[in-house]
């Protein structure tokens, strides 16, 4: 069956700086050489600054492959008033070919193109430099901050290069975060047991309404099962939980299905979060998804960290429901809250993350970014 990705893009631009790269060669093979438009400048150069809703929409269908000259590797800065886990991001491109109504990229990206960087070897060199000094630190590195880690992997094959590199740093953890089911390209690869493939999941009811162009819940779960069977660590993010009248039934069924397919040992972490976004993002979301969306029509209020969130009591109710559903099955399930306030932690766990024994390693502060020699930045 032909990959839907082949016909996803209206235009495929490759910058001259990427000529000779493996990614450019793969793009020519994947899309056909005739579809490649070689350019010496960034296309759509007139589009500067914040994108309009229609420009953002279009950017998902305009692929641009180019060399990246900046720093690939950054520490996630977390955000004010939220409990933060230690996490680093490796950005190998930006923008996503999928289209979730709540996606934070809508208030973050200002490029009119979905960009993929052709020089992954430079990214690996940055990682190698870090390895020289900090191979023994329990560093978590994710590639899914400004793009989905795997949704374009059938084109980029970046996962394969990264898995290979991470064999040399067994104490580090590589995290692919995805809403796709593209795992076939690395399933047979040998690895050091430090590769996490994680899925952001929601009930199919929510996926069908809000996570456009993503894999169905069942396909994500099947992909996760395949990964677990091949020794990859897997994780799930029940995030963002989206309130709707039948949320208890739908999230209950989702959790039951997870518990049916996996054991607590197979899931070292299940993070839970609720819908949140920057207030300014509401304009773009309303324009792109209308007011029928569960997200745009949600009851959201300004929280202390400046984001719009559900009322604290609603969040507490949702988080407690999830935690209790897992705990009723087994106390061994390791559930934690992502990007949440201390109030949510206290209400759900009667403790803050650094005081939850099972989670302590995850939230133990690392040396500051300067000491680590990496850039501090990114989003959230």
């Amino acid at each position: 069956m032909e990959s839907p990705l082949k016909n996803h893009f209206e235009r495929v631009y490759v910058h001259e700086s990427a000529r000779g790269s493996r990614l450019a060669a793969r793009a020519a093979e994947f899309f056909g050489a005739a579809r490649i438009e070689w350019v010496s400048e960034r296309p759509l150069a007139a589009v500067q600054g914040a994108l309009s809703p229609s420009e953002f929409e279009r950017s998902k269908r305009q692929l641009f492959i180019t060399r990246f000259e900046g720093a690939f590797f950054k520490q996630c800065p977390g955000a004010q008033n939220v409990a933060c886990c230690n996490y680093f991001v490796l950005n190998l491109g930006q923008q996503c070919n999928m289209n979730c109504s709540y996606c934070y990229l809508q208030s973050y990206l200002n490029s009119p193109l979905l960009t993929l960087y052709s020089n992954i070897e430079d990214a690996l060199q940055e990682l190698a430099a870090m390895r020289e000094r900090h191979a023994d630190l329990p560093i978590r590195i994710g590639t899914g901050e400004v793009m989905d880690s795997l949704s374009l992997d059938e084109l980029t094959r970046h996962s394969v290069d990264l898995i290979e590199f991470f064999k040399t740093v067994p104490k580090w953890k590589l995290e692919f975060k995805t809403k796709s089911d593209n795992v076939g390209q690395f399933l047979d690869r040998s690895h050091a047991g430090n590769v996490f493939v994680s899925w952001s999941i929601n009930p199919q009811y929510v996926i069908s309404r809000e996570e456009h162009g993503t894999a169905t819940l069942e396909r994500r779960l099947v992909a996760a099962r395949q990964c677990a069977d091949r020794g990859f660590k897997i994780a799930f993010h029940i995030d963002p939980m989206i309130w709707h009248p039948e949320w208890r039934e739908n999230y209950g069924a989702l959790i039951d299905r997870l518990m049916e397919l996996f054991t607590p040992d197979e899931l070292p972490q299940i993070s839970v979060g609720a819908l949140r976004f920057q207030p300014d993002q509401r304009h773009m979301m309303r324009a792109r998804f209308g007011m029928e969306s569960l997200v745009t029509s949600g009851e959201l209020f300004l929280s202390r960290d400046g984001k719009l969130r559900y009322d604290q009591a609603t969040r507490n109710e949702m988080f407690k429901f999830v935690v209790e559903r897992f705990r009723a099955n087994s106390p061994l399930w390791k559930v934690w809250l992502c990007m949440e306030s201390p109030e949510s932690w206290l209400s759900t766990f009667e403790s803050t993350p650094r005081n939850v024994k099972e989670l302590e390693p995850l939230f133990r502060p690392l040396p500051n970014p300067k000491a680590l020699g990496v850039a501090h930045g990114g989003l959230r």
Binding site: V47, S52, S54, M291, E299, R304, Q312
Partner: protein, 266 residues
């Protein structure tokens, strides 16, 4: 200096600027091929206009360096209709605006809104960004609401919030038929309650429960929402250490009721 009789100039760029050209100044005109367009002093009917030389969009930008949101919308409309979208977009670009589909749609919406509303928007200094919700709603009810809002004593912040809430509700087909805009604070609360019915009902219930609790004498307690958190605001005055002791004892007695009747239900 080249002059042209005002009577020979087209007035299709008359966007109704809020400040009329001082009588002491001559009106200006620009040429586009054979045609001449008046670009200021639109109220003049006789006399001559000074013909400016240059690109129309650049001259307009120089003549009107800071327009209100409705003026921007009206001039964009007039430019597009009279001289084409390319020139309109070039002028918008000089205003720091990119002519995206959404902006063009918003400009059209603002330009076609009731003039009373436009004048209110201009007087309050409301920006185009603050008006984006207007594109969500359509139909005669919107115009009626805009006129009512313009006639209300709402402040800028209240007005912007009321407008956005009402437009969202209209798009969700739950906008109320009438809103008491003579009291903007009450109107805002009413619309917020309609926009967040579940949370609002929860707050109302908590506030009612709070009233059933026997608070210590001279203590005022009310349920207050602050963003995504809601809780109890307690007010009392202390005049001595004894007062403090009594209040603490009184609040300790209330604690059990709070646990039973409020925290565990809310």
């Amino acid at each position: 200096m080249v002059l042209i009789p005002v009577s020979q100039c087209a007035k299709s760029l008359d966007f109704g600027p809020s400040k009329p050209l001082p009588q002491a100044l001559p009106p200006f005109a620009v040429r586009d091929g054979e045609r001449a367009f008046l670009v200021s002093g639109f109220d003049r009917t006789d006399g001559d206009a000074v013909v400016l030389v240059g690109q129309i969009h650049e001259l307009l930008s120089a003549l009107y360096p800071s327009l209100t949101a409705p003026e921007t919308a009206r001039l964009a409309q007039q430019l597009g209709e009279s001289l084409g979208f390319e020139l309109r977009d070039a002028w918008l670009s000089l205003q720091g605006l990119r002519a995206s589909d959404e902006l063009v749609s918003l400009l059209a919406k603002v330009a076609s809104s009731p003039r009373l509303f436009q004048d209110w928007v201009a007087a309050k200094g409301i920006s185009l960004r603050e008006l984006t919700a207007l594109t969500l709603a359509s139909g005669p009810a919107v115009d009626g609401f805009c006129i009512d809002l313009a006639r209300s004593p709402a402040s800028k912040a209240q007005g912007v919030a009321i407008l956005e809430l009402w437009c969202e509700l209209a798009a969700m087909k739950t906008a109320p038929a009438a809103v008491q805009l003579s009291n903007p604070e009450a109107a805002l609360k009413e619309l917020q309650a309609l926009r967040s019915p579940r949370t609002s009902a929860r707050d109302t219930e908590a506030a009612a429960r709070l009233k059933t609790i026997a608070w210590p004498a001279h203590t005022q307690a009310r349920w207050v929402r602050q963003g995504d958190q809601a809780g109890i605001e307690i007010k009392f005055h202390l005049y001595s250490e004894l007062d403090l002791e009594r209040q603490l004892q009184g609040l300790t007695k209330v604690r059990e009721h709070l646990s039973k009747d409020l925290w565990n239900r809310h």
